[in-house]
Amino acid sequence: MADESQGAAPLDGNAAGGLLHELFALDVTAAEVICDGCGAVAEIGAVRAYGGAMGAILRCANCNTSIIRLTHTAAGLWLDMRGARRLFVAAPA
């Protein structure tokens, strides 16, 4: 993995966890997300991320839709979730 620039290069939803935690009040890596492209359900931690040091582009393993796009620039945090139909975070047992 090219260790580039100042930011980590997330490889899946796990590694994007810290970034997501800056925005969400709780951990969402265990959240289930429904892909708006094909309806497939996945846990965010399991979803592969592209984008390297530019940002985390989490793509559906089934249809390649960008479910979550997340960047952290000097201006702030950007989150595009148009590819996610719904998110579900389970209540603790």
Binding site: D3, L11, A15, A25, L26, T29, R48
Partner: protein
């Protein structure tokens, strides 16, 4: 009727860690034992984000899995592989020494975790430094004196790249239901009794727990290893929801 609170873990803040001890695990891998005041505790499998600040204000940030068991909160351990072009890893697993300080935040991650109540049997598959979060799970299991059956299939380049080798041998030798199988991808040492090839479907089938036993499976390592193993496990009949994955990087082993 009040909505059930979705429990929020402690707010994620950057806190300062001080290096208490440095352990050279292999020629390329080093563990750091850290003093972290007000560490909120963690679950096995979680990671931290580490941030280094240089004197000129330049900052670099990377994620590292926690290697220590949750019970060892006073001695948080990170295990770092020094990458050739890694500006953070070459610092943490190179220059850094006892007394040095840096920032971290965590624990992070609610997906790739194993807690005792999740039970087993456990089937853990590691490629290279992907063994780190799985070691936290095995250490957690050992501290709790759990006898949940556990199998670790661990792929390394060469015998002296095997991280935690002595401790793994000791844990397996205790007769508490832990089986460890090694495979090497770039070496066949004299007297070696493990496998000598990349993890494949046949190896997963021979080594692993049968799907009927519904093992909880955790796969961690370079992206190609993780994705191939997950596909093979699915093909062998394991339920996808019982397979958890964590990708560590695109470099093959």
């Amino acid at each position: 009727m009040p909505a059930t609170d979705v429990a929020a873990p402690a707010r994620l803040r950057w806190i300062t860690a001080t290096i208490r001890d440095v352990i050279d695990e292999t020629p390329h891998v080093r563990s750091l034992v850290l003093d972290v005041p007000d560490w909120p505790g963690h679950k096995a499998g979680q990671h931290v984000d580490v941030r280094l600040t240089a004197e000129d204000g330049y900052q670099a940030q990377r994620s590292y899995s926690i290697a220590s068991a949750p019970a060892a909160a006073a001695a948080l351990m990170l295990t770092v592989e020094r990458l050739d072009d890694g500006e953070v890893s070459s610092y943490l697993a190179g220059e850094a020494r006892v007394g040095d300080r840096f920032e971290l935040r965590g624990p992070i991650g609610g997906y790739f975790i194993w807690t005792l109540d999740l039970g087993g049997p456990l089937f853990l598959i590691a490629g290279g430094s992907g063994v780190v979060p799985l070691m936290a799970m095995l250490r957690h299991r050992a501290v709790a004196m759990s006898t949940v059956p556990a199998t670790l299939l661990y792929s390394s380049r060469r015998a002296d790249d095997i991280i935690y080798r002595v401790e793994l041998d000791r844990l397996a030798g205790q007769g508490g239901g832990l089986k460890i199988v090694h495979t090497l991808t770039r070496e066949r040492p004299a007297g070696w009794s493990g496998y000598t090839r990349r993890i494949d479907r046949a190896m997963l089938q021979n080594v692993g727990v049968a799907p009927e036993a519904q093992p909880r499976i955790f796969v961690c390592g370079p992206t190609p290893l993780v994705e191939t193993a997950a596909r093979d496990l699915h093909a062998l009949g394991h339920e996808p929801h019982l397979i958890k994955t964590e990708r560590f990087g695109p470099t093959g082993r």
